[in-house]
């Protein structure tokens, strides 16, 4: 599984950075394969890891999310009116079924929205929650 553990040629200036429970740091990359977030989800699942913190560097600013949440969210939002348009980098975290998501633009504007936990693949849960979800799914399959 290919991930950037340091700033290399695949890592752009505007990016998210995930700190993992084994001390590793993963940088969002732009490899022409599936999204980094998906690869990270596979990686933490395979090695039974959690994201301990997620931060974003955009427009020369860094935004840090609270540590050790139940799960972290990452997605992009593209929009257009025909006259104007853009792309926002959205990061957030989940607690108790709710999500706080910060929508950040490279012009340094930001909006925070509170929504229901959107679930996987948008959320990468910590290992404890993932284990619980897997057990729940096993019971559902048995039903």
């Amino acid at each position: 599984m290919v991930l950037s553990k340091k700033v290399d040629k695949w890592v752009k200036k505007d990016r998210w950075i995930a700190s993992l429970s084994n001390g590793e740091t993963i940088f969002e990359d732009c490899r022409p394969i599936n999204p980094t977030w998906e690869r990270l989800a596979e990686y933490v699942d395979k090695h039974d890891l959690s994201i301990t913190q997620l931060r974003v560097q955009i427009g020369g600013l860094e935004v840090k999310l609270p540590k050790n949440q139940e799960g972290y969210i990452q997605k992009k939002k593209a929009w257009t009116t025909g006259a104007t348009g853009g792309c926002k980098l959205c990061v957030g975290y989940v607690q108790g079924g709710l999500a706080a998501i910060h929508e950040l633009s490279s012009d340094r504007s930001s909006t925070t929205v509170y929504v229901k936990d959107p679930g996987e693949p948008w959320v990468i849960y910590n290992s404890e929650i993932r284990e619980r979800l897997h057990i729940d799914n096993m019971f559902k399959l048995k039903d």
Binding site: Q74, K76, K77, A78, T80, G82, A83, G85
Partner: protein, 197 residues
């Protein structure tokens, strides 16, 4: 990441140019032919790519005319077609999201607004919209019925595309317009947004 959103007719042509171009950047609804008006309470018989002032014929876009809550007259047909039987190429618009990396999308939506603020209703016109999703002979899986879209109060939600990762995501949208008063209507624009991984 380089991300673009392109607006075009259902078959991918003609491409509606970005507004900043000052060129053929508008989807215009007309009566029986280009430049002809639509009577109050009636619906578009033709749809064209045009300029912001609606004076230049930039080529026909596929026309869908509202027939009933779940049907449309496709092009010049006299018998209504169920929205689920309208093909992608017959949709008024094809909105194409292109990304560098293959991605999944969710929460895509389209809204009509007054060109001032995306939360405002369009002025002097009612817009009916439906997602079209029929790319084969099989019955489509888009919207069964039309939705009146108006500002943030009523938006057209488009299906999530999460089964696999792609660098191109296409959305096909049927639109039909009816004026609520006489006179040219220019306080109308479309806003599209989508989320992706």
């Amino acid at each position: 990441m380089s991300t673009t959103i392109q607006w075009a007719g259902g078959a991918g042509t003609p491409v509606i140019q970005p507004a900043a171009s000052g060129g053929l950047n508008t989807c215009g609804f007309f009566g029986s032919a280009f430049g002809f008006s639509i009577r109050v309470g009636e619906f578009n018989n033709t749809t064209y790519r045009t300029t912001a002032d609606g004076t230049t014929d930039g080529g026909a876009l596929p026309n869908l005319r509202w027939a009933n809550s779940s049907g449309a007259y496709v092009a010049s047909e006299l018998v209504a077609t169920e929205l689920l039987e309208v093909s992608n190429a017959e949709a008024t618009l094809n909105v194409l999201l292109t990304t560098d990396n293959a991605v999944k999308t969710q929460n895509a939506s389209l809204r009509a607004f007054d060109r001032v603020a995306i939360n405002n209703n369009p002025s002097g016109v009612t817009i009916y919209a439906a997602e079209i999703a029929k790319d084969s002979a099989v019955r489509g899986s888009g919207d069964v019925s039309w939705t009146i879209i108006a500002g943030s109060g009523s938006v057209l939600s488009l299906a999530d595309q999460t089964t696999d990762d792609f660098t191109e995501h296409n959305y096909y949208i049927g639109l039909s317009a009816t004026p609520t008063s006489i006179g040219e209507k220019t306080n109308l624009a479309m806003y599209f947004e989508t989320e992706f991984l």
